[in-house]
């Protein structure tokens, strides 16, 4: 069958189906993968720790922009104290998880795809199969888990740094009263808002990690194939994160 002649919806449905089956394969091997925790820890380091700098830098700038923007808007109504509320709710519920997922797809997702794709093109995955070792269990599952565990931790870091950045601008630079700033924030933010961000980052962690390992594992074993797979990881992950963000936001609003 020539996939190139199929329409976009058919290709999309087929890919979603294939990814779902792949996810089931991965989930079925998660238990045995924990017998080698060292592999998972190494992937948490690769996907999580190595993404920390870009996540913290981005969080700082996003928080600072929110501080500036919030101050500019709220001062027109004499309510500068609410800058903290905007920064906290915006980051906790949307910007933290979404921007972290997008950055994570670009930094760690592409690394996962190209690493697995190169392992495939250099016959390392075939060599494992020839040694009677399941490459999904040894290569894919630890990387999937590394991404899944790292994502919420990175999103939390992003949000914390962004809140600091907003405070830096709102309180330190623009002179909003620190007591009013933090008390308004504390009053407005509910545990439910935090929970929304956590759920989103968990879901995005699954989505981005799955796309990354799937694309790498199913890439054409050529330099061009690995390059295309890496590009697909960024494109599909980004669209998927934004789509899931909309669906989850709507779901949380309706259950409010």
């Amino acid at each position: 069958m020539n996939a190139g002649s199929d329409s976009l919806p058919v290709v999309a449905v087929r890919r979603v189906g294939a990814m779902t089956l792949f996810l089931l394969q991965v989930l079925a091997r998660i238990g045995p993968a924990f017998t080698r925790p060292g592999l998972i820890v190494r992937q948490i380091y690769n996907a999580g720790a190595r993404s920390l700098v870009i996540i913290m830098l981005s969080g700082m700038f996003v928080g600072m922009v929110l501080g500036l923007l919030g101050f500019d808007v709220f001062q027109r109504f004499g309510s500068e104290d609410y800058v903290g509320v905007l920064a906290a709710l915006g980051n906790l519920k949307v910007l933290g998880p979404v921007l972290t997922a997008l950055l994570f797809a670009g930094r760690a997702g592409t690394a996962l795809t190209s690493e697995i794709g190169l392992m495939k093109s250099t016959e390392q995955l075939t060599a494992m199969q020839m040694m009677a070792v399941d490459p999904v269990r040894y290569v894919v599952v630890p990387r999937f888990l590394g991404g899944f565990i790292s994502m919420p931790l990175l999103a939390a870091t992003f949000t914390a740094v962004a809140l600091y950045g907003a405070q830096l601008i709102g309180v330190q630079q623009m002179g909003v009263d620190a007591g009013a700033y933090w008390s308004q924030t504390q009053n407005a933010v509910d545990l439910r808002d935090v929970w929304e961000g956590v759920v989103k980052s968990l879901v995005f962690g699954i989505a981005v990690s799955l796309v990354a390992v799937y694309e790498g594992y199913h890439s054409e074993p050529t330099p061009e194939g690995v390059g295309l797979a890496t590009t697909r990881t960024v494109v599909i992950s980004s669209v998927l994160v934004l789509l899931l963000n909309y669906l989850l936001t709507a779901a949380f609003l309706t259950t409010h």
Partner: protein
């Protein structure tokens, strides 16, 4: 056995037996499906018709578990070594042991160092794959392939891209493994001279079938044009020098548009 892929026949009525304890060579020009034959033997792909038997079992009927059990009795040396790039030499050789045998670390160490010593690379145990030359990578891969003491050892183009010294080393190792350990060896290559020096039985494949078989000496004496072309390294013959194309003169004189 017959095998087709994408409407193209790779093997048509292929009948080959690799005998226990011997070195069997599959030779043939590039693109004749030598590597595909190895994929069929190891159960990575299945024949369209016919039978592929290893250890007396029909490979196509094996479950995944049985296939993995069969592969544990086999070792395979890949063209480029296929070493795991995130592990050093020692860990690469130890990989099958750690995956399949719950052995105490001192025993793993002893086995790994023994195999590395056999291929002359005990001193390179802590190097990463990126630090190895092509010949060294292939020797490490050979150590990994024999660490589980397989009954069959398969070599996929073991001489490609090697300098004469490395080629000689690999040749000697293939022979040593066969003689010292009694391992049945299957070697796929198109390096005639190297294979002639080590193979007990040779099969020359071309056009999806065996065009000649026997000892390397018998192949050298053959009068068949396919065999003479391959063994003599002749540029033209049954395997044409030119890829099929339209008339040269007409294409040259027919203008640029047609040529494209």
């Amino acid at each position: 056995m017959c095998y087709r892929v994408g409407g193209r026949t790779i093997f048509d009525g292929l009948d080959i037996t690799a005998r226990r304890g011997r070195i069997t060579a599959f030779m043939g020009p590039s693109g004749t499906g030598k590597t595909t034959l190895l994929r069929l033997i190891t159960g990575q792909t299945q024949a369209e018709r016919g039978s592929v038997q290893v250890f007396g079992n029909e490979v196509s009927t094996l479950s995944t578990r049985e296939l993995f059990a069969m592969r544990r009795r086999m070792g395979m040396l890949f063209q480029n070594g296929a070493l795991l790039t995130d592990l050093d030499v020692y860990e690469n050789v130890a990989f099958p042991l750690r995956a399949h045998a719950d052995l105490p670390e001192p025993l793993v160490r002893q086995l790994v160092l023994t195999k590395l010593h056999a291929v002359g690379l005990r001193g390179a145990s802590r190097l990463m794959p990126a630090e190895l030359s092509g010949g060294m990578a292939r020797r490490v891969a050979l150590a990994r392939a024999i660490v589980m003491d397989p009954d069959i050892l398969i070599y996929d183009e073991p001489f490609v891209g090697l300098d004469p010294i490395s080629m000689g080393v690999i040749c000697r190792l293939i022979k040593d493994m066969n003689e010292a350990l009694g391992i049945t060896s299957i070697v796929v290559s198109h390096d005639v001279q190297e294979l002639a020096s080590i193979a007990h039985d040779s099969f020359l494949l071309s056009g999806g079938r065996v065009v000649a078989s026997g000892t390397p000496e018998e192949l050298n004496r053959s009068e068949l044009p396919e065999v003479r072309q391959f063994m003599g390294g002749l540029a033209d013959g049954p395997v044409a020098f030119h890829y099929p194309a339209s008339n040269y003169r007409e294409e040259l004189l027919g203008g640029e548009g047609e040529a494209r």
